[in-house]
């Protein structure tokens, strides 16, 4: 309970519509500054993308948000629509998902690969089921309340499996699924904790163009139907430019641009970070198109897909 009190901000100077407010986030590893004084805001019902060249500190931001790292400096406020504000930097790792409802996926997929697809989604509802079963005791005594809670958990799992077309494979071992399905299952698993904020670390990495388009639809439906905020790290510009409402660009741990997709892709600092220092040279036309830098929507073109 002490943790819970400390994790409430004392003053509420957060903009009313902000879901996540990152203020002056700095993360140092010894002498290395991975993130340097980063501030941005993510809103509810919006997809906020964090992009930047390799090693820019994107995943470090996620690890700070989800409690895997303790930030050196900074305040991370989550304005939960139902439960009120939380100060994430003061919370223990697993409590960020448990209390503040922040879910995440990983750059290298982390499924429970020897458990079935359905079990993966049931494990995600652990805290709800623990409460319903009085720490498993009610289940041990074959009480109805646990059976009911488990049934609801299966219903929620079924809803998400239907949504991504994995219902037929619900009893497969998660590790036996094709790569693209594993990516989608990980997003489903994160959604099964019924989050207020969903953090996706390169969800399109390794997906083929068709799967990547399906992912766009899924993410937009999560934003529009579930009414939560999505925070996205992505290399695939076709995903980022098409679905993001708001883009934050990092380079060497610093924020170099922040705004809507159109503003970001015409920003000279962004072009410089992606294509190098020499501004006298004209940028080749095909690179411009690949990055979606032209003023037309570059959405129909596929990006290079990061580390596919």
């Amino acid at each position: 309970m002490l943790m819970r009190d400390l994790s409430r901000p004392l003053e509420t100077d957060i903009p009313a519509d902000a879901l996540l407010e990152v203020q002056h986030l700095t993360m140092r590893f010894g002498g290395l500054v991975a993130i340097d004084d980063l501030s941005f805001t993510a809103r509810k019902n919006e997809i906020t993308a964090i992009i930047g060249p390799n090693g820019a500190g994107k995943t470090t931001v996620f690890n700070c948000l989800t409690g895997f790292y303790k930030p050196t400096v900074g305040r991370l406020t989550l304005n939960h629509p139902d439960k009120g504000p939380f100060l994430l930097e003061r919370m223990e790792g697993f409590r960020i998902a448990q209390k503040a409802d922040v879910a995440r996926t990983f750059q290298n997929i982390r499924l429970f690969s020897r458990m079935s697809v359905l079990e993966n989604l049931i494990v995600a509802q652990h805290n709800r089921l623990m409460k319903a079963s009085a720490f498993s005791l009610a289940g041990l005594l074959f009480m109805k309340r646990y059976a009911k809670a488990e049934k609801e958990a299966v219903e929620l799992a079924k809803y998400w499996l239907d949504k991504v077309g994995l219902y037929e494979r619900a009893d497969w071992d998660a590790g036996n699924l094709p790569y693209g399905d594993q990516r989608r299952l990980e997003i489903c698993r994160a959604m099964c904790i019924q989050p207020a904020l969903l953090c996706l670390d390169e969800p399109a990495a390794g997906l083929n163009p068709r799967e990547s388009l399906e992912l766009n639809d899924l993410l937009m439906s999560i934003r529009d139907d579930e009414g939560i905020g999505v925070l996205l790290i992505e290399h695939d510009m076709s995903v980022v430019m098409q679905i993001s409402d708001h883009i934050v660009v990092l380079d060497y741990g610093r924020k170099i641009a922040d705004g809507d997709p159109l503003a970001v892709r015409t920003d000279p600092a962004v072009i410089k970070a992606y294509l190098g220092e020499d501004e006298d040279e004209a940028i080749p036309e095909d690179i411009v198109q690949d990055l979606g830098l032209s003023t037309r929507t570059g959405g129909t073109k596929q990006g290079d897909g990061g580390n596919a």
Binding site: F112, L118, A124, H126, M130, S133, G175
Partner: protein, 450 residues
Amino acid sequence: MAGPEANVTAGPDSDGRAPMQGGINLAEVVKESAIAAGIAGLLSLPLLGLHAANVGAQLLLRTRWELFFAAVAVVFVGRFVLALFRDRRKRPSHGPSAFDRTLHVIHERMLVIGIVALVAAVILPFTEWGGDRYIIYTATTFLIYVMLGWGLNIVVGLAGLLDLGYVAFYAVGAYCYALIATHFGWSFWVVLPLSGLFAAFFGVILGFPVLRLRGDYLAIVTLGFGEIVRVILINWYDVTNGPDGIIGIPRITFFGIEFRRGEGTFADLFGLDFSALHVMVFLYFVILVLAVITNLFTQRMRKLPTGRAWEALREDEIACRSLGINPTNVKLSAFALGAMFGGFAGSFFSVRAGFISPESFTFIESAIILAIVVLGGMGSQLGVVIAAAFVVVMPEVFRQFEQYRMLMFGGAMVLIMVWRPRGLLAFRSPTILMHPKDGKKTIVLKKEGA
């Protein structure tokens, strides 16, 4: 898991060798064997072929051609067979082997086999073997190990926490009953739950310092914990009577009725002739019930949030944290519940033996229990039974080979691990099915290990 390149066929010559799909290249094999035999000949000529013999005061050089040729022949044949076998293994296999299929069928019929085994266990004392004290005694020992295996299975098989000090909880349970019964005269039936609780408490004590450890580091600390408990038992003379152990531990009663001669005893009340076998059969049934309770508890736990969290923790701790699962609670509950069953088994051990000393709780016991879990296939309930039968009954069967029996036992164990690197029954059934009807059909029969 693997990138898309993995689907592109790994060609037969991926290791640089010529493909050997059709038949075996006999000339090649013979040549290889001949080279090996030649090297063996060169080596064994001075070692085996020539022999310096003392005849009177003279030193004579004798030849032993029969030994020399035998050595060369053995190497040639051995190399030949090895080469044939190796090339055969290289060929793409056509699905799982008959052995794998048998094990899979055993896994699928788990419930039926379990019920049959249970019925057999219940009627065993009433068959003609039941009159044999040796068989009842060995069967009781076997059931103790089955129970310990099932208890450790919670920690190692389900939660994936490698525990090399499990015998410590067994010792805690045993000394708990021995001390309380000799000092206060409490009945076994009162102390049994207490010793379980006490062992669970020790499980939590062990759990706290090792929360941040995994794998090898965890194994070392648990190993140390097991030794600490044993050393305390040896040195705390005032309480534990040190290496002399505790003697005269009160025997088990039939819920208060003693197994003795005379009036008001078990034999008297049930109108039977007194027999020393009665108490043995009763002990057999007690451990059978305790073991079955352990099994049913674990089976039920797997279907509950705590049990599923154990398995999730085994698969990926970081993912667990990202889902809001408290890893501390999950680990401590696994340690505590696993230890609890170790404690039950320990107090049963001391009531059966009537005498305990720290010598019964050495590291080798932990190693045997762990071997049962690993051989059986991590997390498999039936596998534990098969492995316990192997570990307890094998040394008994090999008793006539005297000093070679541990060697044979060890060899058999190595063979199993070569054959089935992940244990005999390394299959896992999901704890909940979305499509229960066709669930069986969709399970992909795939080769384990390798």
